[in-house]
Symmetry: C2
Subunit: 398 residues, 2 copies
């Protein structure tokens, strides 16, 4: 998988303390929920990564979480995933685990995980994050250098100056990676939001977030560095119209801005307090649609189709035409999760809203889930590593 | 108001047989509902027009509707509006009414209404529509020449060939306007949807609709003709996440494609079967946000704000800084209808979803509505005209 060079990948959200589960109940995140999200990420074709801590496994002691999160990412999906970067030691554990999976030599020459390092805007990179960064960078693993922007609170209350500040922050971290290991892969990152000047709350889908994305995409291309942004962010407390407008607005801006690593692209609602199962699958379909859009217009059947226009003639229709018969399946994206039937048909089918349809879809996916193959010896070694580290690390620290 | 020349205007939806009313009840459209929508269009600053038949007044005989629709557009708002174009005679009635308001001479030299003419794709303009077109064009009123595209049903099942067909259709109608009156204003139009090849239903917010908008925007600019498209279209039976994703996806595509006349921009759900009151006000706020985005990045405070970055320094915050104090109100868009509070606060305030908040907002707007001033003599003449035509036209034709 290539990150950068005109390509875009979608990565699910991470970090939610709560989930909306398969019954739409709002609960603390748990390892069981996390396993399910890793399975869904594995099965949804538009997601290119299973990320890491999609929701926090609150039922695991804090000091052991990175082990179980990494183990869950590895065994439930063979897509790429993310390395936990909450401290230097935990980063070392992640590296030990990926070496078990891929072999020590392979890891040194091939990026196998991405790790995110948040900046404490304004103008601070703290030592905890930098410690983790040095581990991944020393091992030649790509690091996302991400100023964490709450526009108006930790940046000036103005779009262009906020961009200037976070650009300085991102560049300083990118430069630091090259001091640690010259030539190590690194990604120009950021998390973008603007803050409501009424309440101090972060907002999603605002015009200024789109404008920041447009400008930062150009800067990253100017510096010739792959670019990470966030997308499909919602602030609603329930998965409703607000979530949809906010998520789609950000998705359109990030895909049209040419973002390479589009994080938080599935599940994010309630300003990251919740990973919503319903939203997770709907967002993933939206990513598939954005991906299709970004592929642009096909021209390979143009002459044949224009001949069909002559064939059908004024006032005719195309439904039975041979060109249509050959092309209808790939011609126009048909979302599985959006209902376009008449109200009568919709009522006859139970008058189900988007959330219900999405949860049914998620349940069906999980029922048909098959784990990707993993050498049982590797799995055993991984488990032995996790169990040893559990014994070594105090489990009651939170 | 300029249409074209790099400007965008937003016009509400039209043509809904049903409404979702102020209590979210689904009802047949009526004149009372239509009056309310005209009032809302008047009050919502991002809407540049009050359109015409936002919902069908089903309580008025078909042959009298154009009279009451036009009267309602005129008296409830001083924004521009649309001329009913369902037949030549009705177009003449509209022209008679606008002459009462603006004076005969003024109308001949100033466009005062826009009129839409739908094509019957593929490749047909029917005489009913062309009859209405000739009335508006002869009176120098701008006509939207709009092939009505159900991609895959009345066009080839392929994006580029569909564009080629509708381009030929739009150009033929534009050329015809110039035969009727050389130099008369005209607008390159279309209605775009793609059809689900499973059900035959029109879809909204699909990737191919965005691609068609991007290409057609370029064609219209190539021909140097103002360009009309549609936006904020939803297919959901209730105002939920689906409506939001679909609407915002189309809005982003049309505003970034540089559309000039962005129709159906408020209220459209259930594939145009319904004008939703809640969606109407939310869509209008989305238009305001898109408008702000399209204005681009401000640079007038850049030096001052970068000085603030030096001032605040590493690890500080900007909330109390003089630059923030001066800029916070205009810095970042703060939507009225989207909730960004914590779940605890949201629950304490009644756990209201987007629909409820939007309906409260619409009720508040309507409660504070003030009709724009209209010379009582003009109003009287208008009413006399409507009553005379009611007597002349058989009222029981439907």
């Amino acid at each position: 998988m290539t990150i950068g060079k005109g390509r875009s990948i979608f990565v699910p959200m991470t970090g939610a303390p709560f989930v909306r589960d398969l019954e739409e109940k709002r609960e603390w995140g748990s390892l069981r929920h996390l396993n399910n999200f890793h399975k869904l990420a594995h099965m949804l074709p538009a997601l290119h990564s299973s990320a890491h801590v999609i929701c926090e496994p609150m039922d695991i002691p804090v000091n052991h979480r990175h082990l179980w999160i990494t183990y869950s990412s590895i065994v439930h999906s063979d897509k790429t995933f993310m390395g936990m970067s909450t401290s230097e030691d935990r980063a070392e554990d992640v590296m030990a685990m990926v070496k078990i999976v891929f072999g020590e030599e392979f890891v040194e020459t091939h990026p196998v995980v991405t790790a995110n390092i948040n900046g404490n805007s304004p103008l601070v990179w703290d030592e905890t994050m930098l410690g983790a960064m040095r581990v991944f960078t020393r091992h030649n693993q790509p690091v996302l250098c991400s100023p964490f922007v709450l526009g108006g609170a930790n940046t000036p209350a103005s779009t262009a100056p906020a961009i200037a500040q976070l650009n300085a922050e991102a560049l300083s971290a990118l430069a630091y990676t090259q001091i640690v290991r010259l030539g190590a892969p690194a990604i120009y990152g950021h998390f973008l939001s603007t803050v409501s000047m009424k309440s101090g709350a972060p907002m999603a889908g605002t015009p200024e977030i789109s404008l920041m994305n447009f400008a930062i995409g150009q800067l990253a291309r100017y510096y010739r560095v792959p670019w990470r942004t966030s997308s499909l962010l919602g602030g609603s407390k329930v998965f409703d119209a607000q979530s949809g407008y906010e998520s789609a607005t950000t998705l359109a801006a990030t895909i049209m801005a040419g973002a390479n690593y589009i994080w938080h692209s599935a599940g994010w609602d309630e300003a990251a307090m919740v990973c919503s199962t319903a939203k997770f699958v709907v967002d993933a379909e939206q990513c598939a649609m954005a991906y299709r859009m970004a592929e642009g217009i096909r021209w390979d059947d143009f002459d044949e189709a224009v001949a069909a226009v002559r064939d059908v003639g004024p006032g005719g229709h195309y439904l039975g035409h041979p060109h249509t018969q050959r092309n209808f399946q790939r011609a126009f994206f048909m979302p599985d999760l959006f209902d376009n039937s008449s109200i009568e048909q919709w009522q006859a089918e139970g008058a189900r809203g988007t959330t219900e349809r999405a949860l049914d879809y998620a349940k069906k996916l999980l029922a048909s889930y098959e784990a990707p193959s993993l050498d049982p010896a590797i799995d055993e070694t991984l488990r032995a590593f996790v169990e040893r580290r559990e014994r070594e690390l105090p489990g009651d620290v939170s």
